[in-house]
Symmetry: C2
Subunit: 199 residues, 2 copies
């Protein structure tokens, strides 16, 4: 039940579905994502609930825009959500599932390659977040006197930066552990696990 509320937050300034999708690609994508095909019907449902109202306006170029804005009920629901305490959902990391079972491959070199590729992907992601922070760092009052409407998004961004740094450190730690194991295990010669186990 979070996408509608994130849309409510974004709609403190009126916007079309297309505009909102653009915001998901920008400042919000480190903690949520949504496709247009999900956004459009969600906005309809929210309007039906009375949280939003819409107007159709001609566009400067392209087809007409359907611009949504908050109603009183919508603003009330947003406030209720914000005041309800942190919504801690289940985290899902498919790549940890892969790593968890990877002894099945019986080859530590495969695990190492996996971790190296994962590290590269996470590092690219971190670079993007750092670019966003660099932009914020040029704002007046950074870092201690940002206005509240910039302080809150910046605080959310910091979580992304700090956890990604931690994940990179974890990748490095894991790769080093593998290398130590390989250095030690090289003499004993076991690499592929045997097809049958000796009990």
């Amino acid at each position: 039940m979070s996408l509608p509320h994130i849309l409510l937050g974004m709609l403190r300034e009126p916007a079309s579905g297309y505009d909102l999708k653009a915001r998901f690609e920008e400042d919000v994508r480190h903690f949520w994502s949504a496709e247009l095909s999900q956004i459009y019907p969600t906005l309809r449902r929210m309007e039906k609930k009375g949280w939003l109202e819409s107007d159709t306006e001609p566009s400067e170029r392209g087809p007409d825009r359907v611009v949504y804005r908050l109603t009183q009920a919508g603003r009330g629901e947003l406030t209720r959500w914000l005041a309800a305490g942190p919504e801690v959902g289940t985290e899902r990391f498919a790549y940890l599932g892969q790593l968890f079972f990877m002894d099945e491959l019986g080859d530590l070199a495969a695990t190492r390659a996996f971790m190296v590729e994962l590290r590269a992907r996470l590092a690219a992601w971190l670079a993007e977040l750092e670019a966003i922070e660099a932009r914020i760092a040029t704002a007046p009052g950074y870092p201690d006197d940002l206005p509240p409407e910039r302080f809150h998004p910046h605080a959310a961004l910091r979580m992304g930066l700090l956890t990604l740094a931690a994940k990179l450190a974890w990748c490095d730690e894991t790769i080093e552990r593998i290398d130590r194991r390989k250095a030690r295990g090289a003499s004993s010669g076991r690499k592929r696990r045997p097809a049958t186990k000796e009990a």
Copy 2:
């Protein structure tokens, strides 16, 4: 497309849906979760695809157990998934969405309370993961000579430990930033944002 693969990994040893649910509650819950009502039909679909076979056995107490085990095709699919490279999905953090828009409440004290509660929840979570690591730490060969079937799960667990520690550090950083702002802003007296804006 990850739950079936996680089940494949777990089913290297035969198990019933009920058994598998128990494993989600234990060693796997820091990166995935699933309800029984999702597990049962998923196992059926996997059997229909030829990845699993099942036998019905009488239980020691309670109703009959349906025990699943991997077929050759299932083991092949598991290997394929493990060798396919890291599956990096979209991360979703509803609480970051709340924080992002929280200037709407116009009250930094509310944000502070939010962060304090979030910190408590994350700390409790970290304590659980630390308990799991403490158990692993008693295994022979810890930490440098764990056998491969323990090394991989332990590596996955470490990611949870390190990122949770980073999140706690982020909570602390954010709470401190709020306190510094409040100390500085107290003299200027603005707390609730005004109902109307002066342009």
